[in-house]
């Protein structure tokens, strides 16, 4: 996990030479640097690969996590999803659509004072389990909810 992050980080800084210069000149705060987009994790295909690339683990105990989403989504292009948790010391959250080709949909890094919740709208190619992962006290936990999709929302 550490090496993976470092690789992404290095790739990001090398690709954007100007960013490196800006950092060297002290123009950018280090916190901004940590905001490196995890491109590999978003490309990973298959649920297990996606979990490993995004979270560094595939083994997650069930957590106190609530996923709010429609039972049946008529339009897979726009499926509203809300994830909330009562767990403590949450540092990161992530959302996966198991049956999407690249399952990782989004990942969130919580800053100081952030409440462990997010809501967005996602695309689903077909009916699928939606998995929310929450990192609480350094351990990833998950919850699953099935969403049936009438008209798929990827490609075409």
């Amino acid at each position: 996990m550490t090496s993976n992050k470092r690789r992404v980080f290095l790739k990001g800084t090398l690709a954007a030479g100007t960013v490196g210069v800006a950092v060297g000149a002290g123009l950018l705060a280090p916190s901004k640097l940590l905001a490196a987009f995890p491109a590999d994790a978003f490309k990973a295909r298959g649920f297990e690969n996606s979990l490993q690339a995004a979270l560094g683990t595939t083994d997650m105990p069930a957590g106190d996590i609530e996923i709010t989403a429609p039972e049946i989504a008529e339009n897979g292009m726009v499926v509203p999803v809300t994830v909330e948790t009562g767990m403590s010391d949450v540092s990161e959250m992530a959302l996966f659509v198991v049956e999407n080709g690249a399952p990782l949909s989004s990942k969130y890094v919580l800053g100081a004072g952030a409440v462990p919740m997010f809501a967005t709208r996602i695309k689903m190619g077909q009916s699928s389990d939606v998995v929310a992962a929450v990192k609480s006290n350094g351990t990833w936990y998950s919850a699953t909810r099935e969403v049936k999709v009438t008209i798929g929302g990827c490609g075409g």
Binding site: G113, M117, T120
Partner: protein
């Protein structure tokens, strides 16, 4: 005109942010009218900042819906300024600031 519409409302010490961003969020699997694949074009990172503090960072893939909606919450104060910015895989970006009401 900004591509971002955002409201930030404080209640009981918790700020609720609701944002809508104008962006195609192309998956890379859709075709144009001539049958050519439209390359992926999507927001990668959304940053929410109050002063020097990043309160929330979102990383998004192509499966976030077109013209993305994003809601989140953090402990904050009325009158503070929230800065919301996005950047995408083509190097485009936008940002806006809103006073927390």
């Amino acid at each position: 005109m900004s591509t971002i519409r955002v409201r930030a409302q404080e209640s009981g010490g918790v700020v609720t942010v609701r944002a809508l961003m104008t962006h195609p969020m192309e998956t890379g699997t859709s075709k144009d009218s001539a049958g050519n694949l439209i390359p992926p074009h999507h927001i990668e990172t959304v940053l929410a900042e109050v002063g020097d503090t990043t309160v929330m960072t979102a990383y998004w893939g192509v499966t976030i819906s077109r013209n993305p909606f994003f809601q989140f919450q953090f402990a904050g104060n009325k009158g503070d300024t929230l800065k919301l910015s996005w950047s995408d895989n083509k190097g485009e970006s936008d940002s806006t600031e809103v006073s927390i009401g």
